[in-house]
């Protein structure tokens, strides 16, 4: 029994442990193929808008938004072990929050839409905070329940969300949704007004691409910091052994609630980005399937790691697009309504099966797949002991002798920001 407990969560700590920059020197880094892969990858991402058409750029933007949301969910479900089925609700809060805060009051199809008409950048920030606040409202439950119990409790959020979206017509536009005002920062507007860069016309997708990349980069870095620092250790400790974590001084309920709030803020940011890409928010999109997709993302990519969330998000959100685009040339898949497998269905089969297969045969997910291959010779150097789930806490303590007793207090500002 005990050896299996150590084995199951090994994915997350291994990913953070072996990839950590601490023991690696600069020359080590220059030698590792990983550095070059990252460099080439990021260069590629930067030049893509000059070559791809709108369809692929939008797909890429979906994937980025999904990645941001998945990172948040992975902190909650992967690192802290709290299952959430309500992620779609917080995405909706972000998306609709942005629309309401930034949009002007108007009348559309006989509906009156209320809008506050705030500057769009402020609206985007407030929408993220709003999603966090929504998570905070749910925190009395999120802090007390654990694991799959929370999963079912958060089901309620989806249904509440759908109910509100369909019924609060003046805020959400009801069934038809409402248009999304384009983001504008310091006078630069992310809309379709023509802007030509290096002989390539830049529309909203091209402009948003860079905003999305920046948002993804920042949220990934922040999440990495959280996961590798003391809060991350505490979260893993809660996941692996709640009581031991409590005994060591981790305020379990507060951490659970805090991570829940943080993860809903990530979802809110993803929602804002999604809304900007869609240019129209519709309530049906934010249903249960969306929540299940996010769970599939983090499981497929790898529970508990930022890279896992990003890989999984790319996998799950690009799959339907690939199927749609190549439905003519792929066997079994055909356009919707022609009798064969519709692209959406085909991709759902694939990621449903992938979830099962990854958990059974590839604990740690796709992110770990690449890692074990490239890092194999190095593993003996990392002693196995610090990877033990509970061990990092005492080992982290000497680093910070001035902050004893209640390890959580220094971390709280980080959670709120």
């Amino acid at each position: 029994m005990s050896d299996t407990t150590a084995e199951a969560p090994a994915g997350a700590p291994a990913a953070t442990g072996s990839a950590s920059g601490g023991p690696e020197s600069l020359t080590d880094r220059l030698r590792s193929p990983r550095t070059y892969a990252v460099l080439v990858g990021s260069l590629l991402l930067l030049v893509l808008p000059f070559y791809l058409d709108r369809f692929w750029l939008q797909s890429g933007l979906f994937a980025m938004a999904a990645a941001i949301g998945a990172i948040g969910l992975n902190m909650l479900t992967g690192a802290t072990g709290q299952l959430s089925m309500g992620h779609a609700f917080f995405l909706a809060v972000g998306a609709y929050g942005y629309c309401v805060l930034a949009g002007e009051s108007s009348t559309e199809n006989g509906h009156t839409l209320t809008g506050l008409g705030l500057p769009t950048w402020l609206a985007a920030i407030l929408a993220v905070l709003l999603a966090g606040a929504a998570g905070g409202v749910f925190s009395p439950i999120a802090g007390r329940l654990r694991g799959a119990y929370l999963g079912i409790a958060t089901l309620a959020l989806i249904f509440i969300g759908q109910h509100v979206l369909f019924n609060a017509g003046s805020l959400t536009g009801g069934y038809n949704g409402r248009p999304v005002p384009p983001l504008s920062v310091f006078g630069f507007t992310f809309d379709d007004s023509e802007l030509v860069v290096a002989a390539v016309p830049f529309g909203s997708s091209e402009k948003l691409w860079y905003a999305g990349l920046l948002a993804l980069l920042l949220s990934a870095l922040f999440a990495r910091g959280v996961l590798r620092g003391r809060p991350g250790r505490a979260m893993n400790a809660i996941r692996d052994h709640r009581i031991a974590a409590g005994v060591m001084g981790v305020p379990v309920a507060r951490y659970r609630a805090g991570v829940f709030v943080l993860s809903s803020m990530y979802a809110g940011l993803a929602g804002v980005l999604l809304a900007l890409v869609f240019q129209r928010t519709v309530p049906e999109y934010f249903g249960m399937i969306l929540s299940l997709e996010y769970l599939a993302m983090i499981v497929i990519g790898g529970l508990g790691s930022v890279a896992g969330a990003v890989i999984g998000a790319a996998f799950v959100s690009l799959l339907p697009q690939v199927f749609t685009h190549y439905s003519d040339s792929l066997p079994l898949v055909s356009a919707p309504g022609t009798g064969g497998l519709a692209p959406g269905e085909a991709s759902r089969y694939l990621y449903g099966a992938a979830v099962v297969a990854v958990v059974l045969f590839l604990p740690g997910g796709l992110a770990r797949l690449g890692l074990t291959r490239t890092k194999k010779p190095k593993t003996p150097r990392n002693p196995a002991v610090p990877r033990q789930s509970a061990a990092p806490n005492p080992s982290a303590a000497p680093k910070n002798p001035a902050a004893p007793k209640n390890p959580a207090t220094p971390n709280n500002p980080g959670e709120k920001s």
């Binding site: 084995e7 409790a153 019924n167």
Partner: protein, 296 residues
Amino acid sequence: MTTFVELLLGGLSIGSVYALIALGFVVIFKATEVVNFAHASLLLAGGYVTAVLHDDLGFWPALLVGIAGAAAVGAAIEFFVMRRYRGSDHSVLAIVTIGVDILLITELTRRMGTDVLALGDPWGNEVVNIGGITLAQTRIAAFLAAGLLITVFLLAFRYTSWGVSMRAAAENPQTAALMGIKLGRVSLAAWAVAGALAAVAALFLTVFPTPGLERATSLAALKAFPAAILGGLDSTTGALAGGLIVGVTESLATGYQSDLSFLGRGIGDLAPYLVMVAVLLIRPAGLFGTKELARV
């Protein structure tokens, strides 16, 4: 007053169906500590088999095949997926059931398309009138059938050797295994029983007031989740109480919808979840769930 009694009785009847689903859910949880998110798709599978076969076989044989089919699907999930998992983190297993659920639901909804399938039940849309109170026959049948099945199940759970081994495995798997109880068989049986109960529930979720088996049926089946949670996931009594509470709340909220119009349309579908959240705020382990104590 008549409306109230009618709504109450209707709610109790649909509640007993929810209790049936929740019971299967709780049985799986007790036997294997897995929260089975694929439960709604088990139900859909049972209903689908019945719906497809009832023209050729007649209703009762088709229902039996449907029940057997859902039990087989449940057992297959246990045998081919759950058993292969080597770790011990049960919330990861819960995610696996989500993967299974995505697969099953996609397959079933693809087969059903936008059709509404009839299950060919013998009750049709006839109603019974008792002292001014009108009730659909299907509702009475649902209440009786669910009551009977639940009684049989609870008696078996208490008195047969199968039930004893089940409870022993739930109490302490290691000790039970040392006593010669085959844990694999216990969890296989739990999944099969849960599938069978879900298939019966599928019948009663799709008969008369509701149009028939369709995609949305799985959403109705989801209401068994709040039922199980608000009763307490590890309590069979809780599943019954939770099912009835959810059924009555839903029925009353739907019935008095016009008086609750300030809450928006379709509040009936939302009510079970609101009740669940309210209960969880006061009792995080549910009404009858054992408060978790741990010795370090």
